[in-house]
Symmetry: none
Subunit: 219 residues, 2 copies
Amino acid sequence: MRIRVAECTVRYEGRLNAYLPEATRLVMVKADGCVAVHADGGAYKPLNWMNAPNTFTDDGDTWIVVNPKGETLTIEFGVVHFDTSIELGEDPGLQKDGVELELQRLLAERPETFGDGMSLIRREYPTPIGPVDLLCRDDDDHTVAIEIKRRGEIDGVEQLTRYLEFLNRDKRIAPVRGIFAAQQVKPQARTLAEDRGIEWVEVDYEELKGIDPDVMRLF
Amino acid sequence: MRIRVAECTVRYEGRLNAYLPEATRLVMVKADGCVAVHADGGAYKPLNWMNAPNTFTDDGDTWIVVNPKGETLTIEFGVVHFDTSIELGEDPGLQKDGVELELQRLLAERPETFGDGMSLIRREYPTPIGPVDLLCRDDDDHTVAIEIKRRGEIDGVEQLTRYLEFLNRDKRIAPVRGIFAAQQVKPQARTLAEDRGIEWVEVDYEELKGIDPDVMRLF
DNA sequence: AGTTCCATGTCGCGG
DNA sequence: CCGCGACGTGGAACT
């Protein structure tokens, strides 16, 4: 990564034309060749940029960056206050405890979302083909397997179907009801679920967050 | 702006939870307090960030950034390879569409638009807080600072006011008249400009293009 | 590879 | 301050 702090003007010609009058800014060139021009404010978004892949021309005072679409970023430098290069290496990348995991956590705390008297047996209940998100017991003492997705599509129903097939072989817990839960259940998934005798339900993430006991404790 | 290159782990807890395992990254803290953590690739988007406004706590090895919504960004540092702070100052900001720049170019070629005998001293005349679009001299030998916008709103008048404040400290050119020029000057901006003793004028882009000497030569 | 949809979207305008 | 739409949207997942 190369970091240069310098007075500069910047011109972008591409999907639109844009121009930055002379001022002191930070210009960042990453290992993959992408270039970003930052002011000392605004949000994380640079004032102007050029993503990789591109061709980079360093003509002394002027950097010209061109991408395959023909868009160009031209940076003309004045006084350079600072210029350094440093090797950062590969980044392991961001791990998002995405919404799906959060949904699972919230629903595990609120099994009654799926019916009065529903209680949690355990999260990530193991089967030979992978863990079921939630295993519960309903008020009739029947076992219930719940698959949770952010977006409920056909493959999620297929997944739950396979789990149910294995769970129902276990005499101690059979028969096992299936519930397919998602923020949004697509029509095709609804149809397939109903055809397989699997219930489906749409859950409201924001509402669940609102009644999160962890949050409640704060008040 | 503060720039630190260091080994770090980063945790974000807010609208979702996210975690960055230890690696060498660039952490940028802008003057407005916003924080961005960059890897040496990807696009211009940081791996993780926290926009202003926020409260920043520097606990030696650990930076904790909390915004008013309660979202937190926690950065734990290991080896620091590099750490520097530099003052960039205000940024004049991005001019999109090229319309502003085009207007500036056209008006620089036609300073008499602003009055008979008006002549251009220079474009992008530098001040400590950024360049004035046009600096001119009128037929009475008074200096005139002209700010050009596509859409003339209050903040443009404020900008010109600040320029005038600096320019009028320079005995060689004071007193400096101000003219606020735009394709359309909003009523609030008109009122404010008049209150500040700044003239305002609406310019016709199409008409200016029609009498552009560069274009004329083509015929 | 083309397309659709999500996003800690961000940003700017109008009410 | 809040809703609404555009964005050089960028980026991932799916066809």
